[in-house]
Amino acid sequence: MKVIRVKNLIKKFGDFTAVDNISFSVDRGEVFAFLGPNGAGKTTTIKMLTTLLHPTDGEILLNGHNPVTEPYEVRSSFGIVFQDPSLDDELTALENMEFHGVIYKVPADIRRERIEQLLKFVELWERRNEFVKNFSGGMKRRLEVARGLIHHPKILFLDEPTLGLDPQTRNHIWSYITGLNKKDGMTIFFSTHYMEEAEKIARSIAVIDHGKIIDQGTVKDLEKRTKTSSLEEAFLSLTGTNIREEKPSGTDRMRIRRRLHRR
């Protein structure tokens, strides 16, 4: 059973083609890694899958629904941990969780129960009444993962969820997520730059570069085809060793300014 189907998906921003005619599918209960260098089109693809961007062309079916015409059904099926933080810094950890539970229409009693359970798991229960702005990067990430799970999604999207985290936190988060995958059959769709992470966790991999999917299969398939002995080597052999340049976006500039402003 395919829970995500993507056919001939294209996204253009003006003249620039960010996602160039890609097709892939993900089985229900799969742990799927979406790998690629910076600027390859990973986040753009995830945004289209999660209804935030409309495709220029092509078809998407997520849990049997089309994100453009049935956004409501699609949004009810997934949870997401974004690449950039998406918490409200001015609210407490508990308030952020409550907010999510309410807008996802989780009934109050179940909501309270799950929030407590999830916050305990990510070890933030003791600090639930503290403002998120006082949290470290790792704590925020843990909170975001916990938040994405309140409504028990069928598919969990994780866009570089462990970026900048120490190995302890990374292990902790991954062991919980893979546990959910085993226990509830939750489909996991993630992107990461840590190849050893993908090698260890993913059962299926797609490598994207310059907006095109250049290879997909299991870790073994990729290694075999590139005649390499690790996913990292396979990845470099597929995508080359050039360092990608990314122009700072307006967002990056604003982040920098805000950071300066805060000091």
Binding site: L52, D88, I103
Partner: protein
């Protein structure tokens, strides 16, 4: 319904927690009230227009409201840039609910700000004409707040980042305020200025406040109410449309 409530609550929590913002945004209106109220008071009196503080307070209340309201609406840019908007946009709720919750929240906050200025003006000697009309004043306060929050939301839905913010302050907020009759009577103005003031939405808001607070009206309370309600609905409609088209 719950979605609207939790978004409204979020705006209120953010407001009540940023004491600096509350006090900071009181500074300018109070400065205007004190400096102009007492500074121009004698001239105003000699011109036979009566007590300037009485005349000015409704205008300054309007000023406090539009600054806070537009800013609350424009805050969406922050949410857009710092991620929180994504969290609400991927949730299985309609964009209309999100827009309404936010706008009501922003309008409530801006109304509080207007009320605080009104209360502070009592210290400076302001006295309303008829306390029984105060509920009507509240209606106008909320309408002004709603209109300008919706306007801010509509603008923020189109803007990419805060670069345009200064532009809005200088070319929208300031003219709206200065050309609204908040500071001067609308009677006997040069034709051009008279025309401009008559298309400034804040003119009707200030007129409504002034009518209910000190019994001085230019357009008439019914007219003020109808025009404000109408343009508020229009801007809410446009804002909802623009907001529903946001892609990030």
């Amino acid at each position: 319904m719950n979605t609207i409530y939790i978004l409204w609550l979020r705006q209120l929590k953010r407001y009540s927690r940023s004491k600096a913002r509350i006090i900071g945004s009181l500074g300018q209106p109070i400065l205007f009230l004190v400096a102009m109220g007492f500074g121009l008071g004698p001239v105003f009196q000699r011109a036979g227009e009566g007590n300037y503080i009485q005349f000015l307070v409704p205008g300054i209340v309007g000023m406090g409201i539009i600054f806070t309201a537009l800013f609350s609406g424009i805050e969406i840019i922050w949410d857009k840039k710092f991620g929180f908007l994504k969290e609400t946009l991927v949730a299985p709720t309609s964009r209309l609910e999100i827009m309404i919750g936010r706008t009501l929240g922003g309008a409530t906050v801006a109304s509080f700000q207007g009320l605080i200025i009104l209360l502070l003006s009592f210290i400076l000697g302001f006295r309303p004409y008829d306390a029984a009309l105060l509920p009507l004043t509240l209606v106008f306060i909320f309408l002004i707040a709603l209109f300008f929050t919706a306007l801010g939301t509509a603008i923020a839905s189109v803007l990419e980042d805060m670069q345009g913010f200064q532009l809005i302050m200088n070319f929208l907020v300031m003219p709206l305020f200065f050309l609204s009759g908040a500071l001067f009577p609308l009677e006997g103005l040069p034709e051009a200025l008279k025309f401009v003031t008559s298309i400034d939405p804040l003119s009707y808001g200030v007129d409504g406040l002034r009518g209910t607070l000190v019994n001085i009206v230019h357009f008439g309370l019914t007219m003020d109410f109808l025009i404000l309600s109408f343009i508020t609905l229009v801007v809410l409609g446009i804002g909802s449309y623009l907001f529903s088209r946001i892609q990030i």
